[in-house]
């Protein structure tokens, strides 16, 4: 009798907990210069493949960090007003997104579950292109490593220039080494720029893992 009562109470509690279960469907995760980054923005960016969260770790945190950086760059880009990206380039990126997702139904589901529209996605892609254009213009052709730097890089990174167990001759690998150094320098410069943007902009992060 006692056991049956306990079972009933347990069942009732279970039902009640199901009934009371509430999921956070959206919230503000961060504000960057007054602009909001919502949970649905983060989910959309990850599910649409605009960013690629790591397989391990906190996907939400990682994606949020990328979106904060993107917004910081966008604020700077808007200040300088680069030329409008070509419509065909926006179309191409949208097609890339479609092929990443695989089917129209999946895209519809993502749109429905995140509250974004196709027009908003186009604007997102457009802004990405504007950021790319700005970074290319600002940091594109600035970094020209010296011959000594290229030789040093080639010596210090033999694995990068080894194919089928054989180290490529320096003359053959020179252009790749130069490109690798330029990319490193550019990434460092962009990091520095971004860190400056972050110092100058009010960034409030409201996402605390586990909360």
């Amino acid at each position: 009798m006692r056991g049956r009562r306990g079972l009933v109470v347990g069942l009732l509690l279970l039902l009640l907990s199901i009934q009371l279960r509430a999921d956070v469907i959206d919230r503000i995760l961060a504000t960057v210069g007054g602009a909001l980054i919502l949970q649905t923005d983060v989910v959309a960016a990850a599910r649409l493949g605009f960013v690629r969260p790591p397989a391990q770790g906190d996907s939400l945190q990682w994606t949020l960090d990328r979106l904060i950086e993107r917004r910081l760059m966008l604020i700077e880009v808007d200040r300088y007003g680069p030329p409008e990206p070509d419509r065909s380039e926006v179309d191409r990126r949208m097609q890339e997104m479609d092929s990443r997702i695989g089917s129209g139904e999946r895209l519809d589901a993502i749109i429905r579950e995140t509250g974004l529209s196709v027009e908003q996605l186009r604007l997102y892609v457009r802004d990405d292109l504007r950021i790319d254009g700005y970074i290319e213009q600002r940091f594109g052709a600035t970094f020209q490593p010296s011959e000594d730097d290229i030789v040093r890089y080639y010596r210090d990174h033999p694995a990068e220039f080894t194919r089928d167990g054989k180290l490529r001759p320096f003359n053959d690998a020179r252009d790749d080494a130069r490109a690798a150094i330029a990319a490193q320098l550019r990434a460092a410069a962009v990091r520095e720029w971004l860190s400056g943007l972050r110092r100058r902009t009010e960034v409030n992060v409201l996402y605390f893992p586990g909360r």
Binding site: A22, D26, L36, V43, G49, S59, E113
Partner: protein, 971 residues
């Protein structure tokens, strides 16, 4: 994603390797809820469900609708836009029949107090100052981490290399707020252990290190060392070592942060001596012409710049062929810079400039560009170039796109005194007149070519006039901005066709269109939201127009209710919809004003034999004002204004009573804007006043009600009803000289309706520089309305202000005014001095309603009210006023120096007894000049006017001049 994705990967050093492109597993999902019927939607503020209609009203997810995440996002954006919440989250739970939504918001907890605890190491006031300097006295709690980071740097700079700083945010309630505490463990301050000095400081290493506070054993303070080193370098530069350089860095820091090894680099550079040979330069200009000390360098670029500056300076003085050469000599660690300056002969312009080749533009217009090339002026080649450019501009503006203007300086034989002589020659090749052949647009999608065409003033066939084309481009751009295309760009591309035509293409990049989503008003506590909303020109669903934004701000400002108005656009994520948040800060409801002034004027007064005499009068005055605005939150206002003047009595002979308060004014005003929902303001005024005119004093009490409506920002119309009594007393005129009506009605009751219309385009009401003011007012008073006399009266005036295209900021101001009035006939019984009673019909206006002229705002060569045709002046010289008035004023306002200006004026006009006697050939005139001072309170004015023809009044010639000192312009 290209670069951006690559960048994202690059900046994520230390992160695990990237996963598959379609990662998203583990992220929150809303699939269980979207599309389901919303059964309940509530808003909870820190756990308490809110019924605030403003908040609940902006929830887009209403019961009965299907749950759309777009609506959820929009609602979050709206709530955030209010600026009241620092956190917003939305949770959903499945309930019977659908889904229940709960918006959980956390109000902004502003920081009420900042506290520090632990081992601070540094003084608390200095640490607090660092926080408030960087983040303000009440930073948002969300900035706590940034503040801690800043403090870390602050401590590092002061030798605490391993300080631990932890922010603690503690929320408190009732009232809401946050206490922001920084727990600080400063640790040990680092001491300097070893120092390596690279370079020669010019003195023993020990004393050098002591001077820059970097000697071993001393606590290390980066900021202090940096500042001391900068001082040391400055000292070296002052001693002529302009290229001295220095820096320091931490070479090694021990793990416990207790000591550092430093490297100090010091490069004294050579000792530099600058000498000048040849012709002397003014000593006070040397620092500016040769800025080696300021620049801290004597490199080749600086020296070449200095040479150019010296030559340009001498050229400006007319030394056309001046030269300057810098030579650098180095010897024994010293650098000697020698500037050899040769001024040569000073050149002057002989014979004026010679201009050839102009056929289309007449010589008189070309001459305007040659102002700096007058005969006898020193010759400055730059002026000749500027004149050529100006002439080129004249032609370009007229459509001569191929214009060529060449200039040369023809050197003539020197003058007998040895001065050089130059005749400037300007040769013009006009080329053909270019006309616009075609106007096209590209890139326009939202606006059709026909729509854009209506914004253009240019058209095919017209001469190509560049400023107009540029203006048209601006017009097109503003059309786009007013349609919400805030990033629109319009580029002008002119293409020459067969040398005589230009095809104009406006290349348009429209960008996205911003649409107004919600307009939210925040910050009004006392003010009724409807009062604000009716001034808002932005509408939900309409494009975000720039003009509407400006107009909204202007209208809200014009309400006079707010100390600050901020309009912010809040974007909705990546959409082009914008919430418009209007944040107002209400001004205090009660206003108190008081002040004082001094009036200096020339008035008529009775002289020894009763004749009119002009006297200076000094009248101190004070006012007090008490106002209450925004009554009931409806922008109604009530105001009480009182003014009192101290004046000398006319009769100065008796003992005591030499001064009194014959002038006072008490006015109570109640104003109700947008009365009864009309677009018009009603003002009710009750006034009690006593005043002094030249021939009488008056006491008036009355009430009037006025309704005023603005048809446009410039045009206003008003209607007014006035009821009051005016009593005149202390008349200077004898009974025989007085108008009959004044004798019969020493106290007269008036009941009148009046209407006026005015157009005001002046840029500044107190001190206008351009624009017009045109007004027309008509009044009718009648016995049937309850008054004792009847009349009609009209006053028309036009004022014009224009900046003249000569000199610097010279303003022409002009006024024409006409006043006409006529009394309605009224039979009265008149008792003669001998006691006989007669019936007469009078048609006069009461003295208080008649026109007078003369004084600081009408005719400045005359004392107050003293202007008038002979019929309006008594035998003793006192004015009686008249039914007709003509005023003509012209004034040039010329800036002289700083806030001081001069004015030259001509005033004309007269007062006539009857309208039928108005005679433009019988006007009095005065000329004069004055001084203006733009004080912080408005323009102050001193004028002296001279009568053109002095009249003989009462057997005496009137005074030739009159002085006036007052506030504000004459008109």
């Amino acid at each position: 994603m290209g670069l951006l994705l690559a960048f994202a990967l690059l900046v994520s050093q230390g992160q695990p390797p990237a996963g598959p492109p379609l990662a998203g597993q583990g992220l929150p999902s809303t699939a269980d809820y979207t599309g389901r019927m919303i059964v309940r939607a509530e808003l909870s503020i820190e756990g308490q469900v809110s019924s605030d209609s403003t908040l609940v009203g902006i929830l887009e997810t209403r019961p009965g609708l299907q749950l759309s995440m777009a609506a959820v996002r929009d609602t979050i954006a709206h709530l955030w836009s209010l600026g009241r919440f620092q956190e917003i989250s939305v949770s959903a739970s499945a309930v019977e029949g659908g889904v229940a939504l709960r918006y959980e918001v956390v109000p902004v907890h502003s920081v009420r107090r900042i506290a520090f605890r632990g081992n601070l190491g540094l003084g608390e006031s200095g640490v607090r100052r660092a926080v408030t300097d960087g983040f303000g006295a009440a930073p948002p709690a969300s900035r706590a981490a940034s503040i801690a980071e800043m403090l870390q740097g602050h401590y590092f700079d002061r030798g605490y290399l391993a300080a631990a700083i932890r922010p603690v945010v503690e929320e408190v309630h009732d009232p809401e707020g946050t206490i922001l505490t920084f727990e600080i463990e400063a640790g040990a301050r680092a001491a300097v252990r070893r120092v390596t000095v690279v370079g020669d400081p010019g003195e023993p290493k020990d004393s050098f290190l002591r001077e820059i506070e970097a000697d071993p054993g001393r606590p290390y303070q980066r900021v202090e060392v940096q500042s001391r080193l900068a001082g040391y370098l400055e000292q070296l530069r002052r001693g002529g070592r302009y290229e001295a350089q220095g820096s320091h860095r931490i070479a090694l820091q021990t793990d416990d942060g207790r000591s550092v090894d430093l490297t100090v680099n010091i490069e004294r550079g050579p000792e530099v001596v600058v000498r000048y040979e040849g012709d002397a330069l003014p000593k006070d200009r040397l620092e500016e012409l040769v800025p080696v000390r300021n620049e801290g360098s004597v490199d080749v670029d600086i020296l070449e710049d200095s040479e150019r500056r010296i030559v340009a300076y001498l050229n400006q003085q007319g030394y056309w062929k001046a030269s300057a050469t810098a030579t650098r000599r180095e010897q024994d660690g010293r650098v000697e810079i020698v500037f050899t300056v040769r001024r040569g002969v000073q050149y002057r312009i002989a014979g004026g400039p010679q201009v050839t080749g102009n056929a289309f533009v007449p010589a008189e217009q070309i001459r305007l560009a040659l102002d700096t090339l007058k005969e006898g002026d020193v010759f400055v080649a730059a002026n000749l170039d500027a004149a050529s450019a100006q002439i080129r501009g004249i032609y370009l503006r007229r459509g001569f796109g191929r214009i060529k203007v060449q200039s040369a300086a023809n050197e003539l034989n020197p003058s007998p005194s040895g001065e050089g002589r130059i005749q400037p020659v300007i040769s013009i090749t006009e080329g053909s007149l270019m006309r616009i052949t075609d106007v096209t647009f590209s890139g326009n999608k939202a606006l059709s070519t026909a729509q854009l065409g209506t914004r253009l003033a240019i058209a095919p066939g017209q001469p190509y006039f560049e400023p107009q084309v540029i203006q048209d481009r601006e017009n097109i751009l503003s059309e786009y901005l007013n349609r919400g295309f805030s990033t629109a760009a319009v580029t002008l591309v002119p293409a020459v066709v067969e040398d005589t035509g230009v095809n104009i293409t406006f290349e348009i990049v429209e960008g996205p269109q911003s649409i107004v989503d919600h307009v939210l008003v925040v910050g009004n506590v006392r003010t009724d939201s409807r009062v604000i909303e009716r001034e808002i020109q932005l509408r939900t669903g309409e494009p975000l127009s720039l003009d509407a934004l400006f107009e909204t701000r202007r209208r809200l400002g014009a309400l006079g209710l707010f100390r600050r108005i901020r309009i912010t656009e809040i974007p909705h994520g990546d959409t082009e919809r914008r919430d418009i948040v209007i944040t107002v800060e209400e001004a205090p409801s009660t206003t108190v004003g008081y002040g004082g002034g001094l009036e200096l004027s020339q008035r008529l007064a009775s002289g020894a034999e009763g004749a009119a005499e002009e006297r200076f009068e000094l009248a101190p005055r004070g006012f007090f004002e008490l106002g209450r605005r925004n009554i009931g939150g409806k922008n109604r206002s009530a105001n009480l204004y009182t003014r009192l003047s101290l004046r000398a009595d006319d009769d100065q002979s008796g003992p005591g009573g030499r001064f009194g308060f014959p002038e006072y004014r008490v006015v109570g005003t109640y104003r109700e804007p947008k009365t009864f929902g009309w677009n018009a303001d009603v003002t009710i005024t009750a006034a009690l006043e006593q005043g002094v005119r030249s021939t009488f004093k008056f006491a008036r009490k009355g009430i009037n009600a006025e309704i005023l409506r603005r048809l446009s920002p410039q045009i206003r119309v008003s209607a007014r009803y006035t009821f009051g009594t005016t009593r005149t007393f202390d008349e200077v005129l004898t009974e025989q000289e007085q108008a009959t009506i004044d004798r019969i009605f020493p106290q007269v009751r008036l009941s009148a309706f009046s209407a006026s219309i005015a157009r005001d385009t002046r840029d500044d009401v107190l001190d206008p520089a351009r624009g017009f003011f045109l007004s027309s007012e008509g009044s009718i008073a009648a016995r049937t309305l309850g008054g004792q006399v009847g009349f009609i009266r009209s006053y028309l005036q036009g004022q014009m202000y224009r900046r003249l295209p000569v000199g610097k900021r010279v303003i022409f101001a002009g006024r024409v005014a006409l006043g006409v009035a006529d009394g309605f006939p009224r039979p009265v019984r008149v008792v003669a001095p001998d006691g006989t009673v007669t019936e007469q019909t009078i048609e006069d206006l009461p003295a208080s309603e008649r026109f007078f002229a003369g004084g600081d705002t009408t005719m400045r060569g005359f004392a107050l009210d003293s202007v008038g045709a002979p019929q309006t002046i008594s035998s003793a010289g006192f004015p009686r006023g008249g039914n007709g008035l003509v005023l003509l004023n012209a004034e040039l306002r010329v800036p002289v120096w700083g806030d001081v200006g001069a004015a030259f004026f001509v005033d004309g006009g007269n007062v006539f007894e009857r309208v039928t006697q108005i005679d433009l050939g019988n006007l009095l005139a005065a000329v004069g000049l004055g001084i203006r001072y733009k004080s912080p309170f408005g323009p102050l004015r001193f004028d002296v006017g001279f009568k053109v023809d002095r009249r003989e009044i009462g057997g005496r010639l009137e005074s030739p001049r009159a002085f006036h000192f007052s506030f504000g312009q004459a008109f």
